[in-house]
């Protein structure tokens, strides 16, 4: 299994693209023709061959370019990666989890040799070779969480568990759907979800918290979440909202298929062994509407979901202003035929 890594950008000239294989394996988040919040958890225990669920930390054709984009964002704003002082052990837990998973799941790309606490890590796609002492932060160029998440696609929140709650006490957040780690760090589960409409009243967060506090070692879970983004931009942060905001108003009937992206988060949840913290990777996948409709089932279904979505959700997800344009475009790919259950192409 060899991956050809795309030469592409997620800002300025936006040369990001999905290959035909990447389109085919896109994690389409809707298993029916409508959408409402739910605690849509399932075991993160593999998935169909070639799917993004197959391996524990999916590595795809965007890996190298995404890591380059993360480095740019961190240079501009180092506060995107923060860890409260009591979270360093959880950072080591996370580093161990990712290194061991990647070395086992992608032996041609990653290699980990361990001799007691003397570790030797090889990351071939990024050209990194590092010898270090496990649990000795002085032997790495960054803290353990920052070190490994500079080499792993997706944002990471690392949650401390105490007082019957989860606390967002560390994170690496450079490809977020408009939330600020610097503002939210230190908050508990209900506080950082406070701005989400409707879900509190529906009891979603109470149930999700109960579930998450009981995630066990070796039994990770996952769910999909989604939003809409204009241009293939990873850094849709509130920090830079005044920079990317104007792009949201550049959609026209002519360019909507190419410029409007469905943004899907593959969220997974992992109990960490030493710290008892919960690792919460939020992996972002982007697909242009014009690519998405190449799978007829997805074109039909996305049209129906977005057309019928409650206004509050469209507002919260930030695309209410563009919804008519998007729905008009997608309507052209909806012949009214029934769709099959589940998320996969027919």
């Amino acid at each position: 299994m060899t991956i050809r890594f795309n030469e592409e950008t997620f800002r300025d000239d936006y040369t990001f693209y999905n290959s035909p294989q990447a389109i085919r394996r896109f994690p389409f988040p809707f298993d029916r023709d409508d959408y409402m919040y739910s605690v849509n958890m399932e075991p993160h225990a593999g998935g169909p061959e070639g799917s993004v669920f197959e391996r524990r930390f999916d590595v795809d054709e965007h890996y190298v370019a995404e890591m380059r984009d993360r480095a740019i964002t961190l240079d501009e704003d180092p506060l995107r990666c923060q860890s409260l002082p009591h979270m360093e052990l959880a950072g080591w837990d996370l580093l161990e989890l990712i290194m061991t998973c990647k070395a086992e799941d992608y032996p041609d790309l990653f290699e980990l040799r361990r001799d007691g606490d003397q570790w030797h890590w090889i990351n071939r796609p990024l050209g990194i070779e590092q010898r270090f002492t496990f649990l000795d932060a002085g032997t790495l160029p960054h803290g353990p969480m920052e070190y490994i998440t500079r080499q792993t696609q997706g944002d990471f929140a690392v949650l401390d568990q105490r007082e019957g709650n989860l606390w967002m006490d560390a994170g690496m957040v450079t490809s977020q759907a408009d939330w600020s780690l610097d503002f939210d760090i230190g908050m508990n589960f209900f506080e950082w979800h406070a701005p989400v409409p409707k879900a509190h009243e529906m009891g979603i967060f109470q149930r999700a918290l109960k579930f998450l506090m009981n995630v066990q070692q070796g039994a990770p879970s996952r769910r999909l979440n989604w939003t809409m983004t204009v241009n293939p931009r990873l850094d849709t942060s509130p920090e830079n909202y005044h920079k990317w905001g104007p792009e949201k108003r550049e959609l026209t009937p002519e360019n909507v298929g190419a410029k409007q992206y469905l943004r899907v988060e593959l969220q997974s949840f992992w109990r960490l062994p030493r710290s008892n913290a919960l690792a919460f990777p939020i992996r972002c996948y982007l697909i242009a509407l014009e690519d998405l409709v190449s799978v007829p089932k997805w074109g039909r279904r996305l049209h129906r979901v977005l057309r019928d979505l409650p206004d509050e959700l469209a507002e919260y997800k930030g695309f209410a202003v563009n919804r008519p344009l998007i729905v008009d475009y997608l309507a052209r790919f909806d012949d009214g035929a029934p769709t099959s259950p589940g998320i996969y192409p027919d």
């Binding site: 503002f183 406070a194 830079n240 909202y241 005044h242 104007p246 108003r249 202003v321």
Partner: protein, 200 residues
């Protein structure tokens, strides 16, 4: 001026249930302006609360200084501003032992700033009480430049640091002791809604 009643909001927005005496435990009481009246009311309900109390008061033009110092606390210090009082507050928090109580009264800015200091000094949340009195102006963090603008009374407002026009969210960070301000004309530069007074 009675305690402020706020309208219901999101779960990160702090609430200020009012001060309840925890008896003669060693305590720090910090108030600004009309917050003094909350301390006076507290002492009226239970004079024992003063026995080991250290009061720090920022009058901000309010006339309660003399009444507060006449209460007879162990220590009563009047400070020209909260910033000027912070070293003293930090020192008191650093000396706090098990059972120490923190009573905060006055504006959201004062309550938020001192509560954030206390939490970072390791004081447990249940040792911190608060009562809102007086101005409902907010302490705002600009999510863009990270600068804090104190005493924001209108929505939107202009960030005192970077000059962007920000709308006032109810999303609140206890670590920062501030609400979040986000560029109001990010998508349509220059088109800014009329500024309105913030309501409780």
């Amino acid at each position: 001026m009675p305690a402020t009643k706020f309208s219901p909001s999101i779960t990160s927005r702090p609430v200020y249930p009012g001060l309840v005496s925890r008896g003669a435990a060693p305590s720090l009481m910090v108030a600004d302006a009309e917050g003094a009246e909350a301390l006076i009311d507290l002492v009226e309900r239970d004079p024992a609360v003063l026995d080991a109390a250290h009061i720090v008061y920022v009058p901000a033009g309010a006339p309660f200084g003399a009444r507060l110092s006449a209460l007879g606390a162990r220590l009563c210090h009047e400070a020209p501003s909260l910033s000027a009082a912070l070293p003293r507050i930090r020192a008191a928090l650093a000396e706090a032992r098990m059972g120490f109580q923190l009573y905060l009264a006055g504006t959201e800015g004062l309550i938020g700033r001192v509560a954030a200091e206390a939490v970072s000094a390791g004081l447990p949340l249940d040792a911190i009480q608060s009562e809102h009195r007086g101005s409902i102006a907010r302490r705002m963090q600009c999510v863009h430049c990270k600068g804090i603008t104190e005493d924001v009374a209108t929505d939107p407002f202009v960030c005192a640091h970077c000059g962007l026009t920000l709308f006032v969210r109810d999303h609140y960070s206890r670590r920062l002791g501030a609400f979040q301000g986000v560029c109001v004309d990010a998508e349509t530069p220059g088109i800014v809604p009329a500024s309105q007074e913030i309501r409780p």
